[in-house]
Symmetry: C2
Subunit: 235 residues, 2 copies
């Protein structure tokens, strides 16, 4: 790819558009990974799970590529032009990259579950995962459309995901207490649930970056508290 291509250099705006589209595409890859991960838990399909883990590499490489392109564009643009666009263009892919990691970890843990008896909480876990996938989707749309209101709304809804996570967390603890043989599989489900809750947090981060893109450093409205499992002192 060493062809001279200066004569086909895109305008700053065109390149900025292309990058936003690339970031959204990257985000969709991470959502697809998450949905595939939720699917293999149900199907107990080790080969598919390994494929998801391997696919995470593509997202990681895309993040590297995008951050380089964003920086190159930044260095080309007029000084104060869009610090915000540039920062968002670096931060959002970093969040997406983490979402991809969590999705891959869910798939990886599902491999360990294949050897264990089916757990009734898997349904709750999948519901949590679908909600997390929805939150990421909404964040990507808000980013694409530069829609601060939509970003704010999904940020508020993170509380729902947290509540669902907390309920599942308590259910898993109870199930572990009923029978020690449940402890190992439940521990995997606990970490998988935690991964999904973290994906929600990254969707919230993306939303906050969209707010920042639109409103600059104007303070965000307060919102409901996060999950409370860190302070659970009973089962």
């Amino acid at each position: 790819m060493n062809l001279p291509n200066d004569h086909i250099v895109k305008s700053y705006d065109e390149e900025q558009h292309r990058l936003v589209a690339e970031i959204v595409r990257m985000g969709e890859m991470s959502v697809a990974q998450l949905i595939a991960a939720l699917d293999v838990i149900e199907r107990r399909d080790e080969k598919a799970a390994r494929r998801i883990v391997a696919n995470d590499e593509a997202i990681d490489m895309l993040e590297q590529q995008i951050s380089h392109d964003v920086m190159r564009l930044a260095l080309r643009g007029p000084m104060a032009r869009d610090l915000r666009e540039i920062l968002a263009g670096l931060r959002i892919p970093a969040d997406i990259e983490r979402i991809g990691d969590y999705a891959a970890n869910v798939a990886k843990r599902s491999i360990a579950l294949v050897a264990m008896p089916p757990m009734p909480q898997v349904q709750g876990l999948r519901a949590l995962g679908r909600l997390a996938a929805q939150q990421v989707q909404r964040a990507l749309v808000a980013y694409r459309d530069n829609d601060a209101e939509a970003a704010l709304a999904l940020r508020q809804d993170d509380a729902r995901l947290d509540a669902q996570y907390t309920a599942l967390f308590r259910e898993l603890l109870t199930y572990m207490m009923e029978d020690p043989r449940n402890i190992t599989p439940c521990t995997h489900l606990l970490f998988m649930a935690k991964n999904l809750e973290r994906i929600g947090d990254h969707a919230t981060n993306i939303a906050e970056n969209v707010w920042f893109l639109v409103h600059g450093d104007a303070p965000l409205p307060p919102r409901e508290k996060r999950d409370e499992t860190s302070t659970v002192d009973h089962a």
Copy 2:
């Protein structure tokens, strides 16, 4: 702070040095938070734990500040000058910010533990935490000194932290199986251990950014595998 200060604008190099020092300072704050968090687990001191959680805000704000300053500097510098320095200057603070979050979460969970009977595995957890703190310290020194060899060495040593995490993880599972009353406190310790293992991963990320600073996109040597608890299928 609206004084005209153009006449005291620092040179690009001076500003770059100041930013590296700021990033190292930010890293040291996160290490201090981690050490304080390990300390409150031992002392079972709820007030101190809450203070650590509140302090995390300062690290978050510093990351915002640093990323703005790095970008402003980037937009000032000559074109291709140092894409690498700039990217590292944005990525390393993001890793440090996450380390601060994990330290705060360890402190938060220690609050829940105060109400529970003391657990023998707390010593192992603290040892794991000290190793994680060491890894972060080494990463900061490698960054400050631009030392790719030191970065590589600490990256290799992440396998030790992973091994220690895996051992503690198994120990906690066994302890849960012995008595259902151990399940709730052990779950907190499991998540705290996971946080510490993740801190190690972020130290590794910092190390990889130091490698990238020195060697550009030259591939990193292969290294030992990460923790294996995602695939534990027995206790």
